[in-house]
Symmetry: C3
Subunit: 159 residues, 3 copies
Amino acid sequence: MTETKKTTIVLFSGEYDKAMAAYIIANGAAAYDHEVTIFHTFWGLNALRKEEQIPVNKGFLEKMFGKMMPRGADKMGISKMNFAGFGPKMIKHVIQKHNAMTLPQLIELAQEQDIKLVACTMTMDLLGLQQEELMEGIEYAGVAAYLADAEDGNVDLFI
Amino acid sequence: MTETKKTTIVLFSGEYDKAMAAYIIANGAAAYDHEVTIFHTFWGLNALRKEEQIPVNKGFLEKMFGKMMPRGADKMGISKMNFAGFGPKMIKHVIQKHNAMTLPQLIELAQEQDIKLVACTMTMDLLGLQQEELMEGIEYAGVAAYLADAEDGNVDLFI
Amino acid sequence: MTETKKTTIVLFSGEYDKAMAAYIIANGAAAYDHEVTIFHTFWGLNALRKEEQIPVNKGFLEKMFGKMMPRGADKMGISKMNFAGFGPKMIKHVIQKHNAMTLPQLIELAQEQDIKLVACTMTMDLLGLQQEELMEGIEYAGVAAYLADAEDGNVDLFI
């Protein structure tokens, strides 16, 4: 009897390249039959945002956060060399050139591979993000659920 | 007989939001009876600094580091949208509004829950920080002690 | 019969201080007889670059990346207080003053301790880095090899 291996990733960062790394490792682990969870918290929640603006009732601060944060994976900046948005364009260009997968494609693949995508409800609350603004097919949970997954994990990462 | 679970976090980062994430996970794990250690190294040491200036003898460089680095958790900037200090204010404002805990409160809770807070002596030395400048009730150790904790850990994170 | 403990680190970040932390933990673990792997991906690959410019055939974008990224560990910036390059100088100065090891020395020690240094072939491809541009004695692999190491790891970190 072989036990299922587990990979649990906290995606805290809101940068395109870090989110790519998280999703590449996650998709790789799923391909090797790991049970995989990505727990999106703080700026990592932006990877799950819908591209279109969703009309929801919010306070002033929450509206400001909403405007200042990127709307979805495709809009995220990169952690290095983000010269006036030139960096992300370069990265996307080389991804295309090398037939690699973009971040939105990696997220789609993760969903096809049944990777559990979780949005941290506590930080959603802090940043004023509502469920209508995030993509379909994801779960909502807090730190207790994260720990339940992580404490039996083979690979636990904070990205 | 159930074995105690273990969570060991390296807090390298000196940002308010990252330190919050570290302390939220740590406090959650302690609430679920994990044995929890936070090993503060490099900029993460700033979370343990006392707010007041402590008169200690230092060389010129160490004095400069001391002046340039934030004095305590409440003074740390955030990793995103740190527009002229506007970001941290916003974050603290929403924390208050949502009755969530600030970083200093999370650190206090960690001490009440007997989470082991460790300051890395090697990087203290590099950055010229002395024990008098850090809060009471913490431990001092090096990478060997970290590894002894981490190698049996259920959840090991680098933040 | 005691099993060999394993430490597996993903070095994603391209900053001097983060790479130092990675190599200090790795060297510590090797000293305690862990089997240690550092998997260099994205900006972490820069730690493995040779200092001299190696003449290789590249496209325009790859050449630009090559020019924009630091050539080797000694050229990397730090993640905090990088005022016009003043930060790295200060860090290197205090390292010297305290008889600590610089990043190039830590990498050398890692090789002497038989730590497995791996370059991620997928991101090498994306960033246009070729084997001739990286140091000798390292391995080349992808995410599958990383997971094989990490899934049995005692300490798994993403830095």
